[in-house]
């Protein structure tokens, strides 16, 4: 739902870093997005493509690596990986007390510039 403002943040961050490193064109940008981050990768790519034409990222490809949700159960001490976007219970013991250890990432990793 807020992919457009996230896309604008990405464009601002990479444009500034590209200019600061003395380059004039961004060829690709690599992101890491957790499945529980509330962001839909397709919608983010759509939004990024919509706002990039007037920028130094006009030809840039946005690549997204999705990170699965992993957690650690406080009750049974299991580490787990799930494919769902949100977890309601520990998949092993069904307990509701757990910590999310990955899956909420919203990171820019690197970019190709020329």
């Amino acid at each position: 739902m807020h992919e457009l403002s996230i896309a604008q943040n990405v464009l601002d961050i990479v444009s500034e870093q590209c200019t600061r490193s003395g380059h004039t064109k961004i060829d690709s940008v690599n992101l890491r997005i957790g499945r529980a981050s509330g962001i839909m990768p397709d919608a983010l790519i759509f939004a990024f493509n919509a706002i990039k034409p007037d920028s130094i990222a006009r030809d840039a490809l946005l690549n997204i690596e999705e990170v699965p949700v992993t957690g650690l159960c406080n009750d049974c001490a299991s580490s787990f990986i799930v494919q769902e976007e949100y977890i309601l219970n520990c998949p092993v013991c069904k307990g509701s007390s757990f910590q999310i250890t990955s899956g909420r990432e919203l990171d820019i990793i690197d970019m190709e510039v020329s």
């Binding site: 807020h2 403002s5 961050i13």
Partner: protein, 215 residues
């Protein structure tokens, strides 16, 4: 050539949220991010909270896509209020709050409510510098909401279950709402209230006073 970036996309928001938090702490101000879907009764909860004369000096920031109806309602209770129109954005972010803070008498307040845009999805994703998040769910929205919108329930410290006066007219299972909400968040404090009849509101304001004065 490859350039390392390694930046958290929401880092800018979190940096400003921390700055807001510093300003709140300096003013000795307790801050609540109030969230719900549209029409659950956030503004009514605030009106009732102000009318109950808690002894707390309360300020309000109203977030809406458009319009100033909510700010006008709050102003009638004599509380300092600022309206933010997001012009389409589905949530308030830290910068929107930072921009209006100079228009509020922070030093003269004990408690600040930030009434977020009515939406069960995005408000829980963006920190604004609050101490806690509180959500309102009206029972008319149905008992399926906790499991459909888990993040809101997981992030909140308290849930106001509003419009309980409507229970006789609705096919809604209040126990299921409470059970599912607590399974998502065992520490969630639940208040059953009716802004129409006033039922349950004093338990809420007592809890609020304890939170705000302890900060």
């Amino acid at each position: 050539m490859k350039v390392k970036v390694v930046t958290r996309i929401l880092e800018a928001n979190e940096r400003i949220a921390l700055e807001n938090r510093r300003l709140f702490d300096n003013a000795g101000l307790y801050v609540i991010n109030l969230m719900s879907g549209p029409g659950a009764g956030k503004t009514s909860v605030l009106e009732k909270t102000l009318a109950l004369k808690t002894g707390l000096r309360i300020g309000v920031i109203e977030g809406d896509i458009a319009g100033s109806d909510d700010a006008e309602r709050i102003e009638k209770h004599g509380a300092p209020v600022i309206q933010i129109n997001t012009g389409g954005a589905c949530h308030l972010d830290a910068n929107m709050i930072y921009e209006v803070l100079q228009d509020l008498p922070l030093q003269d307040l004990d408690l600040l409510f930030i009434e977020n845009v009515g939406n069960l999805v995005c408000p829980a994703e963006f920190k604004v510098g609050e101490d806690i998040k509180v959500m309102v769910l009206s029972i008319a929205e149905g008992h399926d909401k906790p499991l459909k919108y888990p993040l809101m329930f997981q992030e909140s410290s308290a849930l106001l279950l509003n419009k309980i006066d409507l229970a006789p007219y609705l096919d809604v299972d209040m126990n299921k709402i409470k059970k599912d909400a607590l399974s998502l968040n065992p520490d969630l404090k639940i208040f059953e209230v009716s802004c129409k009849t006033g039922e349950g509101l004093s338990a809420w304001t007592d809890w609020l006073k304890e939170k705000a004065l302890r900060s």
